[in-house]
Symmetry: C2
Subunit: 450 residues, 2 copies
Amino acid sequence: MAEQTKYVLDEKDLPTQWYNVIPDLPEPPPPPLHPGTREPVGPDDLAPLFPQALIAQEVTTDRYVDIPEEVREVYRLWRPSPLFRARRLEKALGTPARIYYKYEGVSPVGSHKPNTAVPQAFYNAAEGVTRLTTETGAGQWGSALAFACAQYGLECEVWQVRASYDQKPYRKLMMETFGATVHPSPSELTESGRAILKQHPDSTGSLGIAISEAVEQAAQDPDARYALGSVLNHVLLHQTVIGEEALKQFELAGDTPDVLVGCTGGGSNFGGLAFPFLREKLAGRMDPVIRAVEPAACPSLTRGRYAYDFGDTAGLTPLLKMHTLGHEFIPDPIHAGGLRYHGMSPLISHIYELGLIEAIAIGQQECFAAGVRFARSEGIIPAPEPTHALAACIQEALRCKETGEEKVILTALCGHAHLDLPAYGAYLAGDMVDDELSDAALEKSLATLP
Amino acid sequence: MAEQTKYVLDEKDLPTQWYNVIPDLPEPPPPPLHPGTREPVGPDDLAPLFPQALIAQEVTTDRYVDIPEEVREVYRLWRPSPLFRARRLEKALGTPARIYYKYEGVSPVGSHKPNTAVPQAFYNAAEGVTRLTTETGAGQWGSALAFACAQYGLECEVWQVRASYDQKPYRKLMMETFGATVHPSPSELTESGRAILKQHPDSTGSLGIAISEAVEQAAQDPDARYALGSVLNHVLLHQTVIGEEALKQFELAGDTPDVLVGCTGGGSNFGGLAFPFLREKLAGRMDPVIRAVEPAACPSLTRGRYAYDFGDTAGLTPLLKMHTLGHEFIPDPIHAGGLRYHGMSPLISHIYELGLIEAIAIGQQECFAAGVRFARSEGIIPAPEPTHALAACIQEALRCKETGEEKVILTALCGHAHLDLPAYGAYLAGDMVDDELSDAALEKSLATLP
């Protein structure tokens, strides 16, 4: 009998509930604060930005939240996603480790982002919202929301970080094909954008600035709301379909992970895979090491400060307790645009402080080397973001080769690189550099914490 | 119970044999001829270009050919591919038709091409070949062969039509990521290329020219062979895994197609899906209408002549009896680069002459309109090539809406458009034109038939 390569679930195995890790933690994460009063924000503070259903999910203490059938209908376009056993990579490495990867690149836009874009669009449409605004960096999130809005008849308006807007025209074209309107950020359309452009007419933008613009626009239009692609509790909640499916797939494989690795930008891909496994760990049913991997150029967990900070550059959002490099921090223009965020999901930060997960940082050249190695053995060219997880996976697999340990490694492969191929071109041409964040630059940025 | 969206097979349902339609036809197709003697070519004539195993498959009269386990191992990276029921498109069209699509975009390079690239690389490696040469237009085939060569340790050298090389840099980067070397064609590296450049220094190339260059290089190097991505019998043979899987999936769905539509360039995607259904039709087990869809700008089946012609521009290949627009024909630069070939698979041509399949031609604007409609309802942005099949599918579905017929339509969705998004950009910007092939241009081209 041939060795099985992938573990595919039937549509009837699509999860019916999202998992909320908060009630299973020894203590809840610190609440977001109003920047003026420094008091916890209430639902009313968030109402101009989010529909009631999502605000309720943001603060829920229920362990499980039902997935509406209208959302599952759209999930079925690509879910359940496959779990692969990376047999060809194992052979190429000569490792006794067993490597698995959960692949989210099968979604319409090529990443895990639609897992939350779809319910966000659904709940907004259900409450009569007609237009969603958002930011996007590399463009995965903007594409996902554009796709989701097309499913429920919503307008979608995206502020895309100028650097990506110019360098990655394919992402913009994908958003437009799904019917969205895309603006480069900073733009002249918002006060936040105009303020930045006045100071820096050539600004290439940042996620923090783009968030300010999208938030500002949503707050001014009673029929519009804002959608965020990572960081918040309800976003991570929606992403847990990844981990719930992976647990069922490990049952099919008759295996249990010893190490789980995922890349972290805002934290949603990592949390989506890791939280259901963390539940099993907290319940004593398995004991995987859970490891977040971040870029050396934007190391919020490993070098940031755990403090209250704004989620955006202009300071329009509530204060979030998180590992942050400072909300004015603008990371080097590394190719993993989805990991260039100054902060970390407050929930992931809290769990990291509790000692339930580890974190490491890796430079982008090692990551792209891992990406090429993976592409040539497994066929999938990984997006720049998950090459960080793959680099960590290969580190672990090579340690096993030395020690002879047959560890089981589970890797979050959150997307493909079809629209990021110029980054591979730069790597193959030897034009890529590793920009280490200097202590001085970090201290300067942290000095701006509110 | 929720309505099922996709029909997914287990790895154990991966076909173990390819299907050869020839012995089931009322008469065999006319043989390829040596251009000098006009006698049928023998295996020795083909030995400088292809390994023995593929030459044997080219002329086999066996109904089934076993798929080597080493090939199935690689197929498992993405196969079996899903069959989708396009429920959201049906709703958007308001049609009583039931629309299914077999999606090949889940492969590592995003199309059906690896189905034959993998066995071609395998058989070459097994016979000691160390280097494969090929041509590519839009780049799907070149990417597929680059991926396949990486699996078996072969060097891969690709001549890419200059127009695509310049306009679609992402495809070149994908080939290079898989380890291939890519040259623009016409190139200074071959006699064929130099001859063209002497006459037309600014030539943007054609598939016919690129084939000449790749063939010439392979013929000069005893360790090298040539690989072709469509047209030939063994290529269509390998693609029948698509149709065999689809038959099993229709059993799961409890349905039977009344109409099958697929786009035709060289014919391999179409034949791959259609031949197993044609077998069932010839055996009287079902009776689908089978319809080939080609671009109005390159209409070999609907307006070409059924005659012996060269497969390449320089006249290095055997003469093939096929529907051809003339081997010197250079089609308008439409966006479906994979359909810009002057001829048609001799096997498809023969089957068309036997009256077993229909053919229609559609202009690219209608095709892209269908592509956008499909993307916004089903999530997948189809490659320019299969938008032709989708346009034909929508024509049929709208006819059903008028007549009230509940026809079952099966569509070959052979790939996604991630690396072709600028074509959608041109369509959305209103910059796309439909260039109809004039009778005068066609007559002029046909006058060059050998």
